[in-house]
């Protein structure tokens, strides 16, 4: 099991803010809108540098999606910013018709996703957003794992034409992806090669999967850790190749089991390469208030849960 140095401890939303500033400097077509959460999404960096290209949307997410669609259809590259809950469920029909169906080049950027939002509780802890967004035809869905990857993803999506959902979070989290690691939309990132079990993880749980990899190594189990930052389009070849090699699979994500990354991988493997599969995800439940660490433990998303899932998956191999 490969060891990863913790380079820093930073929130992924700050990676988004830094990436937005950088791509704003590179491409004058980039504009940004935020629904009264400019500081929370660290969009103040862009706002201060490009006040004429930043638009305060107010607490009007539906209108923000429509205005962004119009600007995109006219030739701009709008980035919308609000919490993940208000970026998806609240405005699903606006995204579906004005953005996805109209193929508007809008980048829907969503912070505070999942349980690690913490103390604000279940009203704000959306665990359904990946599923909602991946069902929309043509929508790209990305959930990066640390500050550096979020920054790189933010820059990458501006260079891609088409609607994108970019999901990130609130807490400070270990930074372990190096700054020079290329971000390729739809390309899985091999973190550590192994032979006994494949662990496909996305978002904050990628770090938990690495921790689980070390726990498994101590038990003499060789885990392959793969970072699926792009849930749609899924890197089909990478998933199948790893599942074929190890013979069993664990998925890990800060999302409902229904509709998430595990659901996408299970569907793929059921159709192409039936493989024992265990999912580490929230099981048809809302979250609650608590610290991020407490919540990950309570809802079964900790590194020990990934380790246990890997052992279950291995035991199901023929």
């Amino acid at each position: 099991m490969k060891s990863f140095e913790i380079l820093d401890n930073k929130d992924t939303r700050s990676g988004f803010g830094a990436g937005l500033l950088e791509i704003g400097k590179q491409d004058p077509r980039v504009v940004a809108m935020c629904a009264d959460l400019t500081g929370s999404l660290v969009m103040n960096l862009f706002k201060d540098e490009f006040p004429d290209r930043f638009f305060q949307a107010g607490i009007m997410e539906a209108n923000m999606m429509g205005v962004a669609a119009g600007m995109a259809l006219g030739g701009k590259i709008p980035f919308t910013g609000t919490f993940a809950n208000f970026s998806t469920g609240r405005v699903y029909d606006q995204i579906r018709q004005s953005i996805a169906y109209s193929h508007a080049n809008v980048k829907i950027c969503a912070s505070h996703a999942g349980l690690t939002l913490g103390e604000d509780g279940a009203t704000h802890q959306i665990l359904e957003d990946i599923g909602l967004m991946k069902m929309l035809p043509g929508m790209v869905v990305i959930n990066p794992c640390d500050y550096n990857q979020t920054k790189a993803a933010t820059i990458a999506i501006a260079k891609y034409f088409g609607p994108v959902y970019l999901r990130f979070g609130r807490p400070k989290w270990p930074v372990f992806i190096t700054e020079d690691t290329p971000f390729v939309i739809g390309k899985a990132l091999m973190l550590s090669e192994g032979t006994d079990v494949s662990i496909f993880a996305t978002g904050h749980l990628v770090w938990k999967a690495i921790e689980a990899g070390h726990q498994l190594a101590q038990k003499g189990i060789s885990a392959e850790i793969i970072n699926i930052h792009t849930i749609k389009p899924l890197d089909v070849e990478a998933v199948i190749a790893s599942a074929k090699k190890t013979g069993c699979v664990v998925t890990a994500e800060e999302h409902q089991m229904n509709g998430g990354l595990g659901d996408s991988i299970a569907q793929l493997l059921a159709r192409t390469l039936p493989t024992p599969l265990e999912m580490v995800a929230v099981n048809d439940s809302f979250g609650e208030s608590g610290t991020p660490d407490q919540l990950l433990v309570k809802y079964g998303l900790d590194s020990y849960d990934i380790t246990a899932a890997a052992e279950r998956a291995i035991s199901r191999k023929n």
Partner: protein, 282 residues
């Protein structure tokens, strides 16, 4: 730009198109389409600056029209075809399998003239504002025109957009509300009152005008006034009174023909009231 004296005849042909299109597939929305036939004719043949022969999805360098009430697609398609965006013969494919003329307008099949999908109500005004802001950012001095239904004003997103446009001084936007006071379940007064529109929009900071959208003299009186109000740091709206089913006597005066197609006899009777023009049927 067509001579204004020819506009009534074009609008009559548009009305024939609408009736024949919905009759052919026994579905669609003739009522609001007939009511807005004069306004779309006025826009596409006289008041908008646009180039039908070189359609671009982004609309840079020309006026842009967003029809938020997408269900009145028959009038939109006829106005587009009659002004040269695609062959009028294609109107015969309306709502049929593999058509570019979907039940509600979309960019998805690449129909020239359509820049955004509409149909789920309340969204097009926000999109129009986005187009208008993009034009300002790019120094494009053309105008964005938008049309909404009046029942559509019941959607919350409309009022978000109304507030947003005024706050951002989106003054290159000219919106018309199709004030026919009818919706699917009955009159707007019975279903969900949308009273005092003029004072509502004024209170939100819009320049507000009133117009009879089925009276050519009034259209030519109010439209230049509305255009003159552009660029005054406020969005402009016309409360446009129309009659659902305008031009066909038995379709006027109620909500009955909002989303109902005429049968063979009704079509024949309706077309008798709207004689074919020199433009000819598609």
């Amino acid at each position: 730009m067509a001579d204004i004296n020819t506009l009534p005849e074009i609008a009559r042909q548009v009305r024939r198109d609408i009736l024949r299109m919905v009759h052919a597939v026994n579905s669609g929305h003739p009522g609001g389409s007939l009511g807005c036939a004069d306004y779309l004719t006025a826009l596409y043949f006289h008041y908008m600056v646009h180039d039908a022969s070189n359609f671009t999805p982004h609309g840079n360098g020309e006026d842009v029209f967003v029809m938020s009430n997408g269900h009145i697609s028959p009038v939109f398609y006829s106005a587009l075809a009659r002004s040269g965006y695609f062959p009028t013969s294609e109107l015969a494919t309306f709502r049929k399998l593999n058509t570019r003329l979907q039940g509600h307008p979309t960019t998805h099949e690449g129909l020239p003239g359509v820049r955004v999908a509409t149909g789920s109500l309340g969204q097009g005004l926000s999109v129009a504002i986005g187009f208008a802001m993009q034009k300002k950012l790019d120094g494009d001095t053309h105008t964005v025109y938008a049309l909404t239904g009046d029942g559509e004003l019941q959607e919350g997103q409309i009022w978000e957009a109304v507030m947003f446009a005024a706050h951002n001084k989106v003054d290159n936007l000219l919106v018309a509300v199709d004030f026919n006071q009818q919706q699917i379940d009955g009159s707007t007064a019975d279903v969900m009152g949308i009273t005092e529109l003029v004072s509502k929009f004024r209170a939100f900071g819009w320049i507000t005008l009133e117009m009879d959208g089925n009276d050519w003299d009034d259209i030519h009186r109010v439209m230049p006034q509305a255009q003159n109000q552009l660029g005054c740091e406020k969005p402009v709206i016309i409360i446009m009174k129309t009659e659902m089913g305008q031009g066909v006597d038995f379709m006027m005066g109620s909500h009955a023909w909002h989303g109902k197609a005429p049968n063979d006899a009704q079509l024949a009777e309706a077309l008798l009231q709207l004689p074919v023009t020199e433009l000819g049927d598609y």
